[in-house]
Symmetry: C2
Amino acid sequence: MKLAVVQTNPIFGDIQKNIDNAIKLMSNTPADFYVLPELFNTGYNFSSRNELENLAEPIEGQTFFVLQAFARQRQCYIAYGFAESDGIVFFNSAALVGPEGLIGLYRKVHLFYREKLFFKKGNLGFPVFNTVFGKVGIMICFDWYFPEAMRTLTIKGAQLVAHPSNLVLPYCPDAMITRCLENKVFAATADRVGSEENADIKLSFIGKSEIVSPKGEILCRLDETSEGVGLAEIDLSVALNKKLNEYNELFEDRDQRSYF
Amino acid sequence: MKLAVVQTNPIFGDIQKNIDNAIKLMSNTPADFYVLPELFNTGYNFSSRNELENLAEPIEGQTFFVLQAFARQRQCYIAYGFAESDGIVFFNSAALVGPEGLIGLYRKVHLFYREKLFFKKGNLGFPVFNTVFGKVGIMICFDWYFPEAMRTLTIKGAQLVAHPSNLVLPYCPDAMITRCLENKVFAATADRVGSEENADIKLSFIGKSEIVSPKGEILCRLDETSEGVGLAEIDLSVALNKKLNEYNELFEDRDQRSYF
């Protein structure tokens, strides 16, 4: 399969332009599976709950319908981050849409920094979804910091972890090598570039979207400032094999009795 | 406190020379806490259980008594890896000795490769020990691959993870940055250099002993071929603070309900 990480520079609050831009980038780069950044449609740096209320969408909202149409036309999958409105509460969510429509939803469990002011902590755990290529899990940005997130996804069978992100700390791109090694899984981190400033804070995002293999190889990594698409041709069945050598199998070697 | 990682090139089977060499390196470099490599006294590459039987010691054996004497004289701590004989079974173990004598024992849980032919899997879990500087946990070499090991130690309160190693894979030195970040803990990886060949296999060790801070900074890193001692002046109380910023506290942000 051809896997793509789409690195964008969203304009805060301009959902229409941000969707159009993502569609343009995807249209120009054919792939079987795209990962878009966290909150790619709204931008990241909310300054009030009211602002979020005006921009958040239900799962099946404008953003979903446009991406679903693209997924149907191109017979591809898209994992994308968006601000989810669920009645009166909001989640920092990511959905997986494919040719058959909505496949799955994840709500960010580990909220970072001021996200805690506006979003509710995810209440769906770390679900794994079936695709024709294999099982896919989703985590969002800061979830990488907690090894339990990717461990949970891979123990549940995820062969690919789609990782929509808006990275402000510098550590994630290299840390994902460790995450993929320790779980023998593929990961696709789609980050954004640019910066957003409001009355409270200015945040700059580090780019470096990447695809990493179960052997910890960086299959592609984008730069720190440009929009663009990173591609890798991968075979998800590789991630079913957890053997390191003839004596060590990663998940058999786990020893739950010895852990806290 | 002054923390030291001691990088040696053990001669397989020559316990006396290997102890002497470690004592010489430590004598020349005053410190409060030393970490020696995995199996530093015997060497690593056993070819038979019989060979191991001849070299393994009980916890309070020759190696322990010499290191205990050094720890008393210099009023320091030493965490060191050794082949432990416990009656008829053998463990790839590490002990912590201090001015007051034996403080603790750890038996390697995640055995690597052919170690499984000779050693029994550790049966003590991941214990944490008190010192005058703070709480110390021990893991051995390949344990780094499993995030549960260091997570268990730090949840139990370890401020420093002593990490005797004989690294053959290239990933650990950089992965320890992730391990320290995700747990906000100090780690001291004492690796060996050189190679060992027997009728079955030749193994080469990568050196790069290092001390890493809770912020993921490499405080010292040795080279890939030389014996030597790496030093860092550290304050273990730093590792008590798990706050990343005013909104995020690492261990409060863990969400056990969302994990497998």
